[in-house]
Symmetry: C2
Subunit: 148 residues, 2 copies
């Protein structure tokens, strides 16, 4: 029964290598976009934060996490601003590589509090628009839940 | 610096408990939907597989993974059928709880080969329609990539 298993895996991997997985130059570009998007969640100064969102986030992009639904770049800019008013010094730091296929992606992040401790970890699912900007993020908090 | 950190976490958790996180009865219902959807990927008999998709998958739902984009329930039914023609005896098994907020979800899965070995692990991001059926899955293969 080992041959079907190995055949299975090798066919899966060959499908993957022939598929629409982004070439490495695109992965590098997308990793910069995601890193700069996280930097926007780490930038309390409004003009610098807006500049980071303008180069990473689609004008009508939607952000959803367990606590909020935010529609549009300007609204996200304001939303992050309120976050900093309440929690000065917090940062969002990319904690994984960016996994991309087609125009979809996922990545892990850490929310680092002002004292440097990790307040929360999670992952985001995302989608890119035709210009390579993030048009959608759906965030999840904490690790994947354990099977009941 | 410990007080801001604890305040931060407690406010985050209070936001979560007051948010649109699905109540437990919905989580139980959605977990059944996802389990039955995985069962469709484990059911080689076409009529039984179609019945599982009819109660879990929206008629125009879209499925995307690194190797395929499949649009519509009938096309997904055919797609899974081709999977079984090539890999008889394979199963998709839910490997985590289902994490849900708003109409978005994530879960982990294992692809178990015909000999019982784990051929692949991954996670799916998903969305539910207004009837509680899955209208979108975007799958990712393997663990979250390591930070470069």
């Amino acid at each position: 029964m080992r041959i079907p298993f190995l055949l299975f895996v090798s066919l899966l991997l060959s499908c993957l290598s022939a598929s629409a997985v982004e070439p490495s130059q695109d992965l590098a570009r997308i990793t910069v976009i995601v890193t700069d998007y996280c930097a926007a969640w780490s930038e309390p100064e409004p003009a610098r934060r807006l500049a980071l969102l303008q180069k990473t986030w689609a004008e009508k992009g939607t952000y959803t996490d367990p606590t909020a639904i935010v529609e549009g770049r300007d609204a996200l800019h304001q939303h992050i601003g309120k976050f900093f008013e309440q929690f000065p010094g917090a940062k969002i730091v990319l904690s994984s590589g960016v996994d991309v296929h087609h125009d979809k992606l996922r990545f892990g992040w850490q929310l680092v509090a002002g004292d440097g401790s990790i307040a929360l970890e999670g992952m985001d699912y995302g989608e890119l628009d035709e210009n390579g900007l993030i048009q959608r993020i759906v965030g999840f908090f904490g690790p994947m839940p354990v099977k009941p």
